[in-house]
């Protein structure tokens, strides 16, 4: 009995060894399949998500688990490959997972969520692509709202705060960037703002000289930069080198701590709308940040926050449902609102709708002197 209670690491590695004590779900443990990107291009995101979730799981287990059951987490590395992630979600479900945590990359989630849906297993994802919650899948839940909710919050900033007439958009040409790009272009059209330069780049692109030169030449008043962290940093450096005067505005990634570390002074002046930031001026976030830094000796990013919140969704959702029952869990989550004052693990007041989409307040962040400065809070929509 005692051995069974030593959760996490040991059990996870034992499971990976293929030791076949998979059957007979013990009454005092709750199996969780953590299917995340631990290698390949998504490794930074997946690793942070995992570490955030493990931190939360440790807290949850220390305080008595979920409905008296200890969380028992098995990790599955997708290698950032959608097809592998699909097989691994299948494997986690075969091994009796009550919830699936992950994946972070939308290209993986869109594939593996079908498997969890067929098996009726709730899945708590870190993905933000709009199409995830547009599939009518009743078992998918977000930890961070989709780009179709985040980007419209920026429209007012472009239109009213900046008074932009002409904008440029630089986006990464994969399913993440394309989703954001399409929403953004639609929003600009509605707001009557011209998109004068529309520039896709490859994921992992290193040379942004041509992109920035085109933006400069287009005469845009402001630029929407929708790239992953590392590309954002390279873009900011090139923009600073070519002395771009237009305001650089992003969604989530552009003002991330990682981007600031990599871009240095070039990040100053960049603005982004951020749903989650470890630097949010709220007590719950400060507590989380301190705990994370104590555990891992590094600063958490927004993916770590998603993992942390995700683990608490499993806890609160199950407790609200009143039973360890996957279908009841899913039904309870739809339309659920949680207040951070009562449920601190959720960090901020949050609601989920019938598609698994969520809403909560967000922030505008500007980089000043190499630091994230949190500006106004954007209310939940």
């Amino acid at each position: 009995m005692m051995k069974r209670r030593t959760v996490l690491g040991l059990t996870a590695s034992a499971l990976m060894l293929g030791v076949a004590f998979a059957p007979a779900q013990a009454a005092d443990t709750m199996k969780i399949g953590m299917v995340v990107e631990l290698s390949g291009g998504g490794a930074p995101a997946g690793t942070n998500f995992r570490d955030g979730a493990l931190l939360a799981a440790k807290e949850i287990n220390a305080s008595g688990g979920v409905m008296g059951q200890q969380l028992e987490i098995s990790e599955y590395d997708t290698g950032t490959d959608p097809q592998t992630s699909r097989a691994l979600v299948q494997k986690a479900i075969d091994e009796g997972a009550y919830n699936i945590w992950g994946t972070v990359y939308s290209s993986s989630t869109i594939v593996n969520m079908m498997v969890a849906q067929q098996a009726g297993v709730p899945q708590i994802t870190g993905s933000e692509a709009p199409n995830i919650t547009a599939q009518g899948n009743p078992y998918i839940f977000r930890t961070s709202y989709g780009a179709q909710k985040g980007i419209p919050a920026l429209t007012a900033y472009f239109k009213d705060t900046l008074g932009a007439k002409k904008v440029a958009v630089a986006w990464v040409n994969n399913e993440f960037g394309k989703g954001g790009h399409d929403v953004f272009v639609g929003e600009m059209k509605k707001a009557g703002i011209d998109v004068v330069a529309d520039i896709p780049s490859e994921a992992g692109a290193a040379d942004f000289a041509a992109d920035v030169a085109r933006i400069k030449d287009s005469g845009a008043d402001a630029v929407f930069v929708y790239l992953h962290e590392e590309e954002s940093a390279r873009f900011l450096r090139e923009a600073s080198k070519q002395a771009v005067q237009a305001k650089l505005v992003g969604e989530v990634t552009l003002t991330g701590q990682k981007v600031i570390d990599l871009a240095g002074d070039a990040a100053n002046g960049a603005v982004a709308h951020v749903g989650l930031t470890a630097d949010a001026p709220l007590e719950t976030f400060k507590t989380f940040k301190a705990a994370f830094e104590k555990e891992y000796n590094r600063a958490p990013d927004h993916n770590a926050l998603k993992g942390y919140i995700g683990a608490y969704i499993t806890k609160y959702g199950t407790e609200k449902a009143g039973a360890v029952d996957q279908e009841k869990f899913a039904n309870t989550m739809h339309g659920l609102c949680l207040k951070a004052a009562e449920y601190p693990g959720i960090l901020m007041d949050t609601c989920w709708d019938d598609s698994g989409e969520m809403s909560r307040p967000s922030f505008m962040i500007e980089v000043k002197d190499g630091k994230q400065v949190v500006g106004e809070t954007v209310p939940a929509n």
């Binding site: 290193a206 992109d211 450096r237 002395a243």
Partner: protein, 294 residues
């Protein structure tokens, strides 16, 4: 016009670093008929040696020297002695198995860096820093100019070394006809080793120059390796100056395409160029059709 100049100069600066990787690639191909599919990783790795040395407290210049020495040993000496030489002994020198082995080596280097150093990109100190110059409206950093100058310097230096020194001429003889060179008393094995060492040194140089721009990341080699092949083939597999021309051409063409033609198909241009060159001018733009000269 300003835009064109900007794009052209940026392209030349990036292209000059591609050229460094391509030159080393060409040299090894010449000397040992080894197509090194890990060439990109050879450029990725030395920057991490610098970071490791700096983390252990060395100042940048010293860290660079240490990293260079380690790289030359690991990517030059060990690569030849532990992988290429045993394979050639088994009579399977330039063949398929060596290609597969270098591919596996690429995975090995990439994964090792990821496991033992970290998956996230790291900031990396620039070798040459300085302000920017405004040239006819185009903004060029001192770093870009320095890259271009260094690449040209390396080509001139290497050409002089190969043509004017005794060792250099022995290396050329080895590349052209190992059997005859052997008869003439050249220690061909040693000469081949030299080319591997030079390749490792060039890759390190490229690494030190490009990593401040690319940021230090385990996956940096994937794209660089491919570009190095393309530059080498387009320029001419049997000419150092061909590799230089190929690198610069691809750097410029890539930027011009992205600016004026298509950003979506930007990555296709070097590939189409590659196919065209292989089909219609397999010796490369500057290559000579017969004989191999270093």
């Amino acid at each position: 016009m300003e835009q064109f100049l900007q794009v052209l100069l940026s392209g030349l600066a990036t292209g000059s670093i591609y050229a460094l990787a391509a030159i080393g690639f060409t040299l090894v191909w010449q000397a040992a008929q080894t197509v090194n599919f890990a060439q990109g990783e050879f450029v990725m790795l030395p920057a991490f040696f610098v970071l490791i040395a700096m983390n252990s407290g060395l100042p940048l210049p010293l860290a660079l020297i240490v990293a260079l020495a380690v790289s030359v040993f690991v990517l030059g000496f060990l690569f030849k002695k532990a992988i290429v030489e045993p394979m050639q002994k088994h009579g399977n020198g330039g063949g398929l198995s060596l290609i597969i082995a270098t591919m596996a080596l690429a995975i090995f280097l990439k994964e090792s860096v990821k496991e033992f150093y970290g998956a996230e990109a790291q900031p990396y100190p620039p070798l040459i820093s300085g302000g920017t110059w405004n040239i006819g409206g185009a903004i060029v950093s001192v770093t870009d100019i320095a890259h271009l100058a260094i690449s040209l310097g390396v080509v001139v230096g290497l050409t002089l070394f190969l043509n004017r020194t005794r060792t250099g001429r022995a290396m050329q003889a080895t590349a052209q006809n190992p059997a005859v060179a052997e008869i003439l008393g050249v220690d061909t094995n040693r000469m081949v080793l030299y080319t591997f060492l030079i390749n490792a040194a060039l890759a390190s140089l490229a690494s030190f120059l490009i990593t401040p721009v690319y940021l230090a990341k385990f996956s940096n080699g994937e794209y660089l390796g491919l570009i190095a092949f393309i530059a080498a083939i387009v320029g001419g597999f049997n000419q150092i100056r061909g590799a230089l021309a190929g690198g610069l051409l691809i750097g410029v063409l890539d930027n011009i395409t992205a600016t004026y033609i298509t950003a979506e198909y930007r990555a296709a241009i070097p590939l189409v160029l590659l196919i065209g060159i292989i089909l219609f001018r397999p010796q490369g733009l500057l290559g000579t059709s017969e004989g191999r000269t270093v």
